[in-house]
Symmetry: C2
Subunit: 307 residues, 2 copies
């Protein structure tokens, strides 16, 4: 069993318009709405791939109700705690004219001390009940929560003998390291922001110095680099990059590694799955989706070398 | 007592951003959220001006809950009926760089036959209970409702001996006319769309030919033109236009005239109030707001002539 923790959940709203013109009024031709936040996407991918998972985190208000209802409708198990204030929304405007979506990210409500403590208490009981072997801590921390908050959750996971994966950026990632997370999964830009160097090997060494055990760096179309604490490493990629929607590829990667840790796979197998799951996610129009048939089709194409 | 009817309510969301750049991601620095739809704004203005009013209409889903909660918090009496599907949202993106808001209007859910019938039944009981003398029918009709739906509500108001004001556009306005609404309040563009002529006098004559009793045309900075069924008319304006936010000026105008009809004011007084209330609304950053002090300050400045 895997638990995903999303302290800063979001309700992701997608608007289709003909063309986005600033300072004009637009008729939205289609509205899609979905539970979001990186840990929620990880749980959604795991559920699609048939792996046991429970999503936890903080939700509140009307947007929180919609997140709960959406996950229930999609068959993704969830046990959220109630925050004060309505969960943030993201509005993604997609136009028929080509180009990336135009995105508006709400700041979201502050999570106060008692709110954080109920998240901790909720995770503590879930860890006790569900006998989880892997905990995934994903995404940004809500306003009001200190930068080292993930360190407390890493300690909690370890106290329950679970392995803990941290997928965070900047100060939230750095703040988690002192508790020694089992795996951190930055992309190249996140690695550079957390360590101040753009060199992958130097960045990985810096993260380990700060407390990370194993490090998996996603390099976009260049594939993945996994460096284990023991000094072993692999570079793994597809022969040619896939074009599609890169949003959510990182969450599918985390889902693959969490599933591998939970199932007792080898590292080699895990990093191979991470490549295929994230590539399969790129083929989906929205984050948190994956087609197991794509995974099966892509798996034989993965190229792998030791480093 | 006045009843306002909003068949197509909306949850109006306003995002503040630094600058809107298509195909980029934006941090929203402030979020405001408010019950909207033209009839809701009319009720809000009347409540601010201390006039007895109840807002009715159709709401649904999470957005509907937020509309109810917002009106309760603001002390605006409301008795909505429940629709199927979530009430539409409008997202208004306001940037620090000058220019109008960039607006995204959701289509909103269909209102089916049974949904419309519960709106009619709800209005019928409210008219019986509240002894309303004025009914205001405001704004667009939701998808799925026939163009002449307002005619049925005009007849219902008349059956309860209330006077009925219709503030609608295009087919919804034309469809209301056969039941002889007591007052219609198009702006110049709406008048042209409903009648095919850009000449105000010819347009007013055409609306009367189609069934309207009295007609009040708002001409923006040029003021208001009221033409009564008896042939009497006034043109009324401020000496100089006010700059500000024109959204909601029309709803404040309707609120003033509804209040005048309910209180037994003279037509001259009503059209004077319509000018001052709508001008006072222009000074407010959001639709549905008005400051009674602005109304009192502007009233002596109104210029009026017979036509």
């Amino acid at each position: 069993m895997i638990l995903t923790v999303t302290p800063n959940t979001a309700l992701d709203i997608t608007y289709q318009v003909d063309e986005l013109v600033p300072h004009q009024s637009h008729r939205v031709t289609a509205v899609r709405q979905r539970a979001g936040g990186k840990g929620v996407n990880v749980a959604s991918v795991l559920a699609r791939m048939g792996h046991p998972v429970i999503a936890t985190g903080v939700v509140g208000g009307a947007a929180g109700d919609e997140i709960r209802a959406d996950l229930e409708a999609r068959g993704v198990a969830a046990r959220f705690v109630d925050g004060v204030g309505s969960t943030r929304r993201t509005v993604n405007v997609v136009s028929a004219v080509h180009g990336d979506a135009t995105i508006f990210n709400e700041p979201g409500p502050e999570l106060t001390g008692p709110g954080w403590q109920s998240l901790v208490a909720g995770l503590d009981s879930l860890l006790g009940e569900a006998a989880a072997t892997v905990v995934v801590l994903s995404g940004s921390l809500p306003p009001g929560v200190p930068d080292d908050a993930y360190a407390e959750l890493v300690d909690l996971g370890h106290a329950h003998e679970a392995r803990v994966i941290v997928d965070a950026d900047g100060a939230a990632l750095r703040g988690a390291l002192r508790s020694g997370p089992d795996l951190v999964v930055p992309n190249r830009a996140e690695l550079a922001r957390a360590t101040g160097t753009r060199d992958v090997a130097a960045g990985v060494a810096a993260l380990k110095e700060l407390g990370a055990r194993d490090v998996l760096v996603s390099c976009g179309a260049d594939g993945l680099v996994l460096m284990l604490a023991e000094g072993l490493g692999w570079h793994c990629r597809l022969p040619a990059p896939l074009s599609g929607n890169p949003t959510g590829a990182g969450d599918a990667l985390v889902a693959a590694v969490a599933a591998g840790l939970d199932s007792g796979s080898t590292w080699q197998r895990m990093v191979q799955d991470a490549v295929t799951w994230s590539a399969a996610a790129v083929l989906q129009p929205i984050a948190g989706e994956i087609d197991p048939d794509d995974v099966a089709r892509l798996a034989p194409q993965v190229l792998m070398e030791s480093r």
